[in-house]
Symmetry: C2
Subunit: 336 residues, 2 copies
Amino acid sequence: MSNPAPQKTAISPRREEDFPEWYQQVVRAAELAEPSDVRGCMVIRPWGYGIWENMQRRLDAMFRATGHRNAYFPLFIPLSYFAKEAEHVEGFAKECAVVTHTRLEVDAGGKMKPASALTEPLVVRPTSETIIGASYAKWVQSYRDLPILINQWANVVRWEMRPRLFLRTTEFLWQEGHTVHETEAEAREETKQMLDVYETFVRDHLAVPVFSGEKSDSERFPGAVQTLTLEVIVQDRKAIQAGTSHFLGQNFSRASGIQFQNREGKQEFGWTTSWGMTTRLVGTLAMMHGDDDGLVLPPRIAPTQIVILPITPKEETRARVLEACDALQLQLRGKQ
Amino acid sequence: MSNPAPQKTAISPRREEDFPEWYQQVVRAAELAEPSDVRGCMVIRPWGYGIWENMQRRLDAMFRATGHRNAYFPLFIPLSYFAKEAEHVEGFAKECAVVTHTRLEVDAGGKMKPASALTEPLVVRPTSETIIGASYAKWVQSYRDLPILINQWANVVRWEMRPRLFLRTTEFLWQEGHTVHETEAEAREETKQMLDVYETFVRDHLAVPVFSGEKSDSERFPGAVQTLTLEVIVQDRKAIQAGTSHFLGQNFSRASGIQFQNREGKQEFGWTTSWGMTTRLVGTLAMMHGDDDGLVLPPRIAPTQIVILPITPKEETRARVLEACDALQLQLRGKQ
């Protein structure tokens, strides 16, 4: 007796055959995203974006419940700002998209080329500590102005040589929280609190078990004193970083000049934190819950909860089946 | 008898003295936004961003109700894509931020400078017809794939020489709808429908009377066949464009190769539209409803509905006043 042929699956290859390729096929079959012709940049299709919107909605509510408000800061960072924190610029220098011109003109051969060179090049934000720090330096004068608890939903760019849909892309979407506090203890508490928020979100809303801990020196965020992280082990038993929360000490407030008069009337640098989650979570979700027949989503994050499939093998019952499906739809929507 | 001195107002100058300066002062006093050190880019502060979020929420619901879904396309457009539609590239050439490098390195003098020049420069999207068209060309094969009804919430960049907070900024936030249809009539209907959606939104949610009509040849969107527009007359009796909806004919589908097999089995180019509203609306709102004492917001869009101001002139009643305010707060929140 020979073994039965393996059952045919909707996704090929199966997970055990080639996990990375299985993942790409799941993302394409579910129409979550696709590569674009801009190297490393992806197109997030409506189904994928719908998942991200649901994540945003839930995370945003959790940020508000912990006292944060949203704001929006410039996409471009002057090179001189970016270079203020030495470790920071070193950490990101190799992956920065740089804007050098502000116009296009037709050259002698009739081809378009960049014109009007900028005096100072602009870095497309890979993260916003330095540009947000410049605003905070203006807003913070006294301990009475603290804490500042702000979050931003934005796109960021980190040039990626080996892109993978959602997991590693040159442009990605994320939220970045940036806070300033009066004391070290308060800033450390915020760093921990936001990791806890992330953990609750990933565990309770994405139904993904997580490991939380601290990044090693070599993996710490460039410029941070401490980086806390959530790591997820997906089905190929590899870890994916699901979110990070950084205690930045006074490094960035020194670099940006975020100073305040403390309760003793002395000038002091603020204590800052930053924390972020990205569209990488959409890929993590697919790697965690998907199976050989494709995408599986936890109900709290699925853009569609129910699909009604009319099965109409006989022409004479077709109309009645469709009618019953329509009635069921109305009933489920609570409209009947 | 001399005239009485004019009453002191919270905003100086008053509207009749200097309307443009009054506007800037209202935006600053209400902490809606402020200029950044990146020329033409603004920082949208939490109060300003809260207004934009409320606009987004309401508009987004209206887009969904008319069958649209959200997606996200790359920030960067390869120069060759952008140049495909001749009028389009000509219209935007003078205001394009161009990415030419993907790395920073330290030069001989110890200063950071751009490195790793791109073979093909990338334009930071001033609008996304061409980059979205590249995806649609892949998605559309048959009339059965139509219509495509997609909206994107995003940041765009148009280099601005004379910036004004919200009204004219180099980077701004917006939504851009991009649709493909089987017939000219359907695309024209969509163009009109979205102008109607905008009109309803501006009139009923922003409480702003509008004039709708068609842009002249010189003001038409670069590459469009027809541009419909909503114009608002603010308190200085000048018009501000509040939203536009473009019928693009087959111009962009020809440029991007969006072709489908029609019901007769022949290849045909799709009929496309695009339509957008921006953060300029926040400024328009301030110019429309504000008075000499500052910002006035229509209730549907105000981030805060009620402010309780405890007045405690006497120390002995202070505790009781605060207690009554707390009780009122709980009552208003429906928690008592």
